[in-house]
């Protein structure tokens, strides 16, 4: 093997190293971006639950204000879930989210006759349970999509 051959092999190894490193770096960045989206989804769901509790339970709540927060949080969650399913079609969070949407905004939601109070407790309990189910599905998908061991 000539000196020239050795140098060429060295260059090829360096090039492969650069490509592999670049690929892993891109994957790490994507993972960070998706993690941020999931954290944002979690925050939006928390905001939705808090506004829902005020709307359904609190006598002193300004109902129209809470109703605006509910709509904002639903729109925000829907946007994030759409982005995640565009990124990876295996990310199927819509069914859990649609249950939350129906529980919060169904029945007599935004009726002029709405009465906050303890009788709405079951709605809030169901929302908490469903939020946990949605976030569990999201975390399961995240773990499957980004093999944790490859990046830690």
């Amino acid at each position: 093997m000539t000196t020239c051959d050795v140098a060429a092999v060295g260059w090829v190894i360096a090039l492969i190293g650069f490509i592999v490193n670049n690929r892993f770096s891109n994957q790490r960045e994507t993972r960070k971006e998706i993690r941020a989206k999931l954290d944002h989804l979690n925050k939006s769901l928390d905001s939705l639950l808090e506004a829902s509790r005020n709307y359904y339970l609190d006598d002193a709540a300004i109902l129209s204000k809470e109703s605006i927060r509910i709509h904002e949080a639903i729109n925000s969650c829907d946007r994030i879930i759409q982005e995640l399913s565009r990124f990876n079609k295996d990310c199927k969070l819509q069914p859990d989210f649609y249950i939350i949407y129906d529980v919060v905004t169904g029945g007599k939601f935004e009726s002029a006759k709405h009465q906050p109070g303890e009788h709405n407790g079951p709605i809030c309990k169901r929302l908490s349970i469903q939020k946990e189910a949605l976030m569990q599905s999201a975390e399961d998908w995240f773990s499957a999509a980004f093999n944790q061991r490859a990046f830690t």
Partner: protein, 109 residues
């Protein structure tokens, strides 16, 4: 072929809310009775644009759209041929078609 375009935010309200007439001024029942059903009855194609509203509750959407089958006796196949839903938010668009399918299933039982 006659077409009708209804933009809820412009032609009805940017804050539609509630299920029945008794729930408020811009309820799902009123939208169905005064806008949606007459448009579907008199036109071959009806486009409903949901964008521009603060948000739409499932109580409003279910009563407005599910009520076409439950209260007005329309059938899902006719509605599918005539109705087009425009929305940036997948949740509203997807749920409307699911409410229609659920109402048809309920009617067929």
């Amino acid at each position: 072929m006659s077409n009708k375009v209804i933009c809820i935010a412009k032609n009805y309200s940017d804050t539609p809310a509630g299920r029945y007439y008794s729930d408020g001024s811009f309820s799902g029942e009123r939208f169905r009775e005064e806008f949606l059903y007459p448009a579907l009855k008199d036109n071959e194609h009806v486009e409903i644009n949901l964008d521009g509203t603060l948000g739409l509750g499932s109580s409003f959407l279910e009563e407005a759209f599910g009520g076409l089958i439950r209260e007005k006796g329309m059938c899902l196949d006719d509605i599918k041929m005539k109705l087009e839903i425009i929305s940036q938010r997948a949740v509203y668009k997807n749920r409307i078609w699911e409410y229609l399918e659920e109402a048809q299933l309920e009617k067929d039982r």
